[in-house]
Amino acid sequence: MLLIDCPYCGPRAEVEFSYGNEAHIARPLQPEALDDDDWADYLFMKTNRKGVMLERWVHSHGCRRWFNVARDTVTYEILAVYPMGAKPPKLPERSYL
């Protein structure tokens, strides 16, 4: 079970959180201007990276705040936690075969 460092509450067990999938996917400002393929891409397509993944979590059973997490999907190491709206910090490149 992961130990996630909530930026507002401190380190807490994974069971207190919910997963919110890939981070930094902004909702298009004018959805009607998108064609069906682009809209489908926004709506359904997520990357599933082997390596460092930027993802959203929410402290559902705590402060209920959303934030971003940079997590290595191979080692499950959490490399950074940063607030919604912030740019991801510089992270070491990690590549796996």
């Binding site: 067990a13 909702r27 959805p31 009607e32 069906d36 929410v58 499950y76 919604m84």
Partner: protein, 1014 residues
Amino acid sequence: MAQRFRLSDGGLIDRKTTLSFTFEGRRYRGHPGDSLASALLANGVHFVARSFKYHRPRGIFAAGAEEPNALVQLGEDARTEPNLRATQIELYDGLAANPQHCWPSLDFDVGGVNDRLARFFPAGFYYKTFMWPASMWMKYEAVIRQAAGLGKAPSEADPDSYDKTFAHADLLVVGGGPAGLAAALAAARSGARVVLAEQDARLGGWLLSAAGVEIDGQPALEWVAAAEAELQSLPEVTLLKRTQCFGVYDHNFFALNERVSDHLPLAARDPRLPRQRLWKLRVKQAVFATGAIERPLVFRDNDRPGIMLASAAETYVRRYGVKPGTKAVVFTNNDGGYGAALALHRAGTKVAAVVDLREAPEGPLTAAAQAAGLDIFAGHAVIGTDGGKRIAGCRIAPLDESGKRAFGGGTPLDCDLLVSSGGWSPTVHLFAQAKGKLVWDEAQACFVPGDPGRPEQRSAGAANGAFDLTTGLEQGHAAGLAAAAAAGFKSKGRRKPAPPKAAGDGTMGFLPARFLYLVPSDRPLGQGGKHFVDLQNDVAASDLQLALREGYGSIEHVKRYTTTGMGTDQGKTGNVNAIGIVAEQLGRPLPEVGVTTFRLPYTPVTFGIFAGRDVDDLLDPVRTTPMQTWHKSNGAVFEDVGQWKRPWYFRRPGEDMAAAVQRECKAVRDSLGLLDASTLGKIDIQGPDAAVFLNRVYSNAWSKLAVGKCRYGLMLGEDGMVMDDGVTARLGEWHYLMSTTTGNAAAVLAHLEEWLQTEWPELKVYLTSVTEQWATLQLAGPNACKLLSRFTDLDLSPEAFGFMEVKTAEVMGVPARIFRISFTGELSYEINVPASYGQAVWEAFMREGETYGITPFGTETMHVLRAEKGFIIVGQETDGSVTPLDLGLEGLCSKTKDFIGKRSLARPDMALPDRKQLVGLETEDPSEVLPEGAQLTESVPETPTPASPVPIAGHVTSSYMSPNLGRSLALALVKGGREKLGQRLYAPLADGRTLACKIVSPVFYDPEGEKMRA
């Protein structure tokens, strides 16, 4: 019965107290400090089990967690537990154990015939034999399970309680042997918070059965006692004995199973204490000082009762004061095995021979055995054994230099005990579970920890391949210091702390050794006997070779095909031998073959600890409304809606559900009903941007809703599917109250918060769940206004208080919000009062309402009444694949603004004419009620077996008998349904009948809505 094999002195048992216990109904005696296994051996009982596949007699093989054979059924009735290792069961007075997996008895077991038929049961037997026909597999399986079962699960509810503890620490030390104690002491002295977990009832590890060992100038066990006393005295140390760390999870999270009262007689167990406890422990650092497990030698017929590990024999003599046999043969490939020979010799067992695979035996223990005058056969091997329910003798023969061939038919030796030592395997399970990399130590022939999965996890002592005591203590000490430092604790004092110092025989490890994974015999492998590799699953060396011949090259495949290492012991004694044999056969170096994946749990864990206290009433929280007491005492039958208990209907004496619902439905339409609607989700929305926010999350428009007005809103997911619905009222300029469906309240709040925080943080909107702060009483029926007017000064005339309006007023002197909205289609008021007044107002309504025959009604009646009106229920008419268009609610989708889900509604599939659309259905026979979920077809399917697939036109979503219409009605989703009004459909039912019905409008009652607007 006397304990004929109990030594007169020595061991860590209390001879002054005698305990009585039974095994297979026979009564025996033992002492405190005994395990069930040691007590049985003290009574001369070796034969305790039948093997899994061949039902061969099996004896006690080990003395710890690695035991593959001696699995017993402990306890009786509701407390019975299968597959427990006799070697780890602490003896208590009145203990009752039974053998398992034999019928009718251990001694005479019908399944034993399998052994005679062994050549018909090779590896992969089940795969090969029972493949065809596939339809018969279920029948085969039942028979196979019956024959192969491992013990019996209790059939009654578990009477014991279990608990969970969530804890944090700086350091977890697993293992209370010398290395673990050194680690715990070093870390604890620096002030770190340390948890020390030891699977045994005593600390000390292998020191408990060692002879002549000194640490820091004291006899080993005195050093252990002093270490324990020091650890006990430190406030930051938690000592957990009888506690198995069975699993490692991410981010240094550990699961430990503490056996709190299992070791006590039933009558002595404190009912306030749990039987066992699950520790969920998060630490900064961990030290694995889990020791090592001895490997047996794999020789022909190496499985008879009376054959055991050398270290086990040593433990039975030294720790338990038991003589495991009268005449022993010791078979070893290393110096360490001589420890057992010396222990047995000193205990008075005649050591008939020490058979040593090494050409030139040497080492400290070997020298001691030579000095004691034991007969040593160098370069020899045991090539076979005799006996039935106990070993009676063996044959030994010299080996050639390669170790692949034995010379001659062997010299027979009588014995009733044969112990073997093939080297040692560090207990790397936890390290490997945490994805640590194992490396092969060629000199010691074992896998040892290499790169750890996490830098916070260290291995020390025998678990790290350090088999001599001095190095083990040094490693434990160093690991403890390093872990404490990494956790932020510096050691106290000016001088660098020194590790404990060891002295004495038997502290030097087990080398030198000559490693042979398969001991040859005078006959080819698999003929006239079996070389067992996995005793628990009856896998022999010949099975491994068969798997290789049949093309299984990967060790993971060999494991699955032969089931080696797949028993409850997970191959603790057998796996490395199996890998060695496979490597030899493949002609590849052993480390290239590699290990199979280590999976938790290390030893089996009872389900009870995972349930803990979360059973019965505590399984899931129960939510009740403020009026629950009244409901319970007035005949309510409850329905679960999420965690809520909602009155389903109120039963009067002599009524069944149908009668009660018909009565309630009539009462609401004819006069007056009262519904508890408190469970509907209520979200308080405030802020200057509240209207903008509602415009985005609801499909319909909210900008123009005036203060004091209510509006029905439809909420979609971004995929365009209906997610929730409900009425939202504008209470003030910046203040709204949103209602949600009961089951979706939490999900809707989470959905709103997510959008607000992640997509629109610039909006000034605050969301607060107020579901439980308000009790909601719904008065519904033509007389609703008349009754309510008796409780409030508010002008209730339709001109002053119209449909879809909200007012704040006092009801019975209680501050209330009154919503004139309707889900039943009748004149209706929803009165919200602070929760604590709910029941008082409810009771007053019931008292005063008698004039109008006021009738409390439940959710079923509410469902019937709303279905008469064609109102949907999210989750009943919708299932996550239904759009507003499908429901005929396109009028609720704004064309002028954007909202969540809007773009998806413009995708081409959403406009397809054959999407399932909401319609009403009337059965041709008005007394027939269609089953909800029934599939609908356009023609009567051919009977009895229509060609598959039958084209499906749609399905029934809601269906009731309506007393107001005097007939049944149903709602359904039908392909292109709105264009098919008047068309006939058929519902073929499971009972063979087919009901004909007609597509109609989904609004059956008061289509103009005159009643609710009155």
